[in-house]
Assembly symmetry: C7
Homo-oligomer: 249 residues x 7
């Protein structure tokens, strides 16, 4: 790593290489991801779990409007972390890709295909001038031929597949919990619990109000995306002894 | 936060990331919002209240011409804070969206749909080069299927939904008043009073002349946007013991 | 306000926000307005008065050619202050808007509508790159459904309505005179006298040669724009004891 | 006026405002005008006189090829001062305008109309990026409905009308002579003499060789542009005791 | 080589020459290649071997999704090192070239032809402004008329043919191993072993888990690209005494 | 003239004015002209002579390939000095102009018309961004209606007509010789001798090898461009006692 | 030559003139040429010889893939020195020109015509913004109407014709050998020997392995381009006592 003055030199104009071969604008965009609250994805044989913390700036804010989980197609959902407005653009790209695939080939888009269409879009904003990279990471979860898949996209436009992964603020701590507790034979229920517990690690297991979390599943059997109701989340939190009172009410 | 010299480096050309993942041009645009006088939105079961302070540069200025509240459609109004000329552009975007929706689908546009069309427009000015972000925040209030909705847009292009919210100068102080006094069972009248009292906090409850405020409501029952007459506002202010003599006459 | 070095940072390339949320290029354009000689607008029940000082660089210059007042339509005139060549561009925009309105809707354009078309044009030059803002302020005076209207546009593209207003050099001093002496029941004649006296304040009431002023009225009854003849102006100045000998003859 | 370092800041890229509201690139273009040799215009009731000094870099240069006076239409001529190649571009613009007017409306273009078409063209080069302003000033002289007219355009794109005016090097000194000696009842002959004497002031009335001056008239009666022959100029110079021997022969 | 300050001067805007004739952005892109994990290509009379190390950021990551080897056509594969998202773009270019060749000429594309199409694409990103070079090196291996071919592309867009070559991190050390142990009469099996042993040199022959390597062959006889199964790789590693336990299970 | 630091400020991006009204890029382009070897033009009643020194970088270079004289049309030739590759572009422009004129009007182009088409092209490269000025000066010689004409174009795009002129390296010294020895009644032969002698002044009349000069004439009577053979040049040089042995043989 | 700081000023953005009239980006591109290994061209009455040194980065590299000699048409070949990827672009330009000429005029392109088409292409990259110059020099050798021709192109886009010439690294030393040993009556064989000996001078006549050189001829009689086989080159080297053992085997 180099001194302050030198870094400044690479912030001008377009995304260019530094002498040690790094794309600083892309790395700064990764910092934007870390500034967002965390999202977690867990892949189990029964389906994929997407979960995200929703922070509220005020008790008068509707936490539902903090968009962290997005249904992209019947069988695919996306969780985001980082710059919210940027995430919305990528979600639009993903939805259009899904629709176009349906219209053109008469079949639903694959999870990997969709992910790579999105990462190709992201990459172009890191190479061509006149724009900045996207300051957001995504978790693309879905079911493809009955098989659950879970992908990550980062601001460089690289796709990776995961069994379980955290993005956003406190990523290292949460990922550590996932690595220590993930098991290949988790069910969907177990996946949800693991996601919640992982998200709770950075707050010293103090827990969340039910509205402080958003959770969705893509079930391997039905192949359908579903958002958990606040009640269901409250039940889970109670069971895990992680339910706190929200500042909303 | 970093020193002066470093900030300067991120002001050149286009909106790019700083080493800690922030978009300075967007944050500076937020400062532009704070430089404007405040606007307030309050959602009640009976409808949405939008209210704004209108400052006068001279007793010879027509305060009516200080545009803070805008009717966008029969059932939707927008309050703004920040750079006035920028607000006008976004209001135009909103009105066109409402018209296009009417023409294309034969039905009035939803409040959330309209808000997100506007935030997508805002986001593009934060990512693509050759332009600066919009220096304005908006409150989009309206009625959708009989249900009152209240959204905020900020210079990053992120939409949030609120029960009650302040934007613009002295936001923290006004929001604090809203949080302390908001109640879920307010009527429209109560909503108006809360909005006025909130706006009065930063001026130590010295009050306003009747022309110093603009207030409008979107009634849940009728689904119609209505600007309050100066007389009505004067009556309210008198009742709340917040009426001062205007410098206009 | 900040130091010298920092201001320089915001002058490069396009119009961008400073850390405190200001658009310096727009503020510098306001300085360009102040460098121009003053213009004044006075709204009375009988009509609108536009008046401007015309400075001469030489006794051989035709003061008539110092363009400060412009007829835009039969019922609308514009007074300008600041960068003369920029004013000409905006006058062209205004005239085209008036013609297009006549052709498209078969009726004369409203004063407010015209003003806002011009301010929208101005705003675009403050947000999109590749151009500088307009260094000029305008007073748009006219009659709309028999009612006199008087608007101001500034370099940010914000429209305001006024009873009486000064723009350009020594604005504060002249506006002060207007505020102290304006009365709602002025007639057109009284409006003209007020405008002249206001313009005379910064020169310690030494007065002007008849050719040193340009004055026009838009009469509420006839709805017509009219430039006062030099003789009429001389008569007024004599009556107000403000006539000096021009250096022209 | 500010220090060196600051001025530099406003020279980059496009024409932008300085903190005190000036367009430095335009002001520097005015300096380019001053670097050129002087041109003079004199309006008399009998017609307009255009005169210019033609400096020679070598006795082998054909002074005729130093383009300072240009016939634009039968009834309109233009004298220039400053950057010669820039002048040629504006002369082309003027000629095209004259032709288009003739073709479109079947009548010759007015002097004021032509001047303003040219200044509008000049203004655009001071506001839109990607080009520098024109480094030239013009005197547009002509006859319109039998009436002699004389206009000036400067690098900002502002048109002014004059009775008599000097542009280019030593402008102040020459203009001073014009102001002291101009009379409303000059004939064309008197106008020519005044122009020559004015141009001779900065050289301490040492005079010029006949080829050192270019003089043309637009006669009010005939409405025709005419270049004076070298013999005629020599005769005039002899009469005024201002003929020197050229270094050409 | 020059000091820090000077290098900075060549990082602005577009890819330009330094005083000593180097293209710094291209050289920095080479550093990006070195930051990636290594890939190796070995050409034998029986076919081409492509092998790559796949590093895992977490035991929960699917190493299969670390894309280092890509099938481009039935008879051509590409191994990459460096910026992953950039590699994906070039792979797309290569696949399109292969398809277009098939459609246009009705025959499979040659390995050299394909390589040069890709390097021409790379070169353009080093000469034309508005974009940065590709931060990736490729090994293009394939069979052409029964003859195995192996090419390298670097960030400058230069194609070279090799008998055996390493790209990416620790290139020198790995290449050194290849040079010392390559023999013209290696079979495919021998080529695979050589590739594995070469990749193992920088880690002091500690070895890899089976999932830590990706290996593919293009067989000269069948002319077909084939990815080795994890089992096959494990067998090889065992035989070479280079199998370690993965952190994946 | 100003200090070093300030000059640098005007070298960025596009051709802009310096505070004293100069276009530095154009003036630097004039320096490029001075770096080239000299060319000379001499106009006599019998025709125009173009002559140029051709320097050789090595005895193995074909001096004929040092392009200094170009036939543009049957009756027009151009001599250049400065950046050779730029000259080629302008020669192309000139040739196209000549052809287009022939096709469009069915007659050969005039020398002045052609010159001005070329200078208009040159001027545009000094005003519009995205390109640098041409680093070359041209001498356009030809016959028009039986009359010999000789024009100069410089990097600003200004056309001048001359009796005799030098451009390029040592211009002042050569021009001085021309001024001292030019006579209006020179014949073509005399013109050639004057051109050779002038070119020889900076080398202290040491002379040239025959291949060291290129000479062409455009004869007033025949109206035809003709390159002198090396033998003819050798004869002339011998007669003038200026023939040296070439390093070519 | 000037100091470090000043040179930096001319490296930004586009290719512009320095105060002393030089195009630094073009001169830096010349340095890129010097960084490449040398190429030599020799013209004899029997045909043209092109020869180039091919350096190998590793004994595993196929030296044949170091592209220094390129067949452009049956009767024309090009040798390059400098940035290899840039050379490939210019070779493409040359080949297209040759094809287009064949198609359009039904005859093979002339060597001079081809060279000038390439230099015109090169020049444009030195004048228009948004791209850097080509970092490569070319030797274009061929037969035209039975006559051997040999041209050089440099990064400025200037064409020169030569009897014998070296480009690339150690140019001066090699050219010196050519100047001392070239004779007009060399045959093709003699030309090949001269080229080899010249290339050997900088390495103190230590010689080359046969694969270390690439040699081709364009025979005046047959008018055909031919690459020498490695055996032929080995024979020549043996005869000249310049054969070393390659590191390839």
């Amino acid at each position: 790593m180099q001194g302050q003055n030198q870094q400044q030199a690479y912030d001008r104009g377009i995304t260019i290489f530094s002498p040690d071969g790094r794309l600083y604008q892309v790395e700064y965009a990764r910092e934007a991801v870390k500034r967002g609250s965390a999202s977690v994805g867990v892949r189990t044989p029964e389906g994929v779990v997407l979960a995200a913390e929703r922070r509220s700036r005020s008790p008068l804010m509707e936490r539902d409007s903090v968009e962290k989980l997005h249904k992209v197609d019947d069988h695919i959902g996306i969780a985001s972390a980082g710059h919210v407005a940027d995430a919305r653009q990528l979600i639009d790209v993903a939805r259009r890709e899904a629709q176009v695939n349906q219209l053109r080939y008469g079949e639903t888009i694959g999870v990997e295909t969709l992910t790579k269409a999105v990462t190709d879009h992201i990459q172009q904003y890191t190479q061509t001038g006149g724009a900045r990279p996207f300051g957001v990471a995504l978790l693309v979860g879905g079911v493809e031929n009955g098989e659950p898949r879970l992908f990550e996209t980062d601001p460089s436009g690289t796709p990776y597949e995961w069994k379980a992964i955290a993005i956003g603020g406190n990523r290292e701590e949460i990922q550590s919990h996932l690595e220590d507790n993930y098991s290949e034979d988790l069910g969907l229920e177990g996946g949800i619990d693991l996601a919640i517990e992982a998200l709770a690690t950075p707050v010293d297991d103090e827990g969340f109000p039910a509205e402080g979390l958003a959770i969705s599943t893509i079930d391997a059997e039905t192949g359908s995306y579903r958002n958990l109701e606040t009640d269901e989340i409250a039940d889970r939190l109670t069971e895990l002894d992680l339910l706190t009172e929200g500042d909303d009410e």
